[in-house]
């Protein structure tokens, strides 16, 4: 498979995820779209591997997987906190400033 096609597929996936991040209000959807974006970055790295054949690209993919796992753990912890406050939309997530609204 030519690397052009792989990286093109990665680009389309990345911008589908980016559209979701911009478009959705709910925090859990934003997290899932972020996962799609991270995965498409991985796919682009694999495409670079098929172009240049260096195993360092695959090592980078393994590191991105570890970072994605940490990211989803923290993101879901934030969603749990937001659900405790009763609203899981990103627009309502302002209470880290220390004073409640109203």
């Amino acid at each position: 498979m030519s690397p052009q096609i792989t990286i093109g597929l990665a680009l389309v996936l990345f911008f589908i995820g980016a559209f979701g991040v911009l478009f959705r209000k709910s925090a859990i959807f934003t997290l899932m779209c972020l996962e799609i974006m991270l995965n498409s970055a991985n796919l682009a790295l694999i495409g670079a591997f098929t172009a240049w054949g260096s195993p360092i690209a695959q090592a980078a993919v393994a590191l991105v997987m570890a970072v994605a796992a940490a990211e989803v753990a923290l993101g879901l912890a934030l969603v749990v906190i937001m659900a405790r406050h009763g609203d899981v939309t990103l627009d309502a997530f302002t209470s880290l400033s220390g004073h409640e609204e109203e």
């Binding site: 959705r24 859990i28 996962e35 991985n42 796919l43 694999i46 240049w52 994605a68 923290l74 879901l76």
Partner: protein, 164 residues
Amino acid sequence: MILKIILFWLFAIAALAGAVSVVIAKHPMRAALGLLLNFFSLGIIYILLKAPFLGIAQIIVYAGGIVVFILMAISLLGLRQIPGDRDLSARGFFSILITLAALFGALGVLLFIRLPANPSQDVGAKELGQELLGPMLIPFEIASFVLLVGMVAAVALTRTRREK
């Protein structure tokens, strides 16, 4: 070879369909299942692109770990459809516009560059391990530290204080 190409396109279409269904789904549970389809198809694509270890790791870590994690969070918190989510108001319109402009810009750049096509060998666990524990040792250790910090932070954030 022809079978490989057919499989690649099949799973590429499946990955795109999964991603689109995440973006447009009404209910979070459906979106999580679309995410599962996306991750699984990408794992198969990695295997087809001579990264068998990463393909298996993708299916185990993402499809088996992260999606289950998200599904647990959705069912634990009882997340439902939020009214006003995914409305095509001004924000939806501008996000479509910005995304399409960036996508076509990037695809245009991709059309004009020449990438070499290297007939590389499969990179299995052995080569990957030599790479990770050789030249990439310091990033590898930093990634393990990031995982530890993320885990501790997730526990600390969701801890509930007991009232005396």
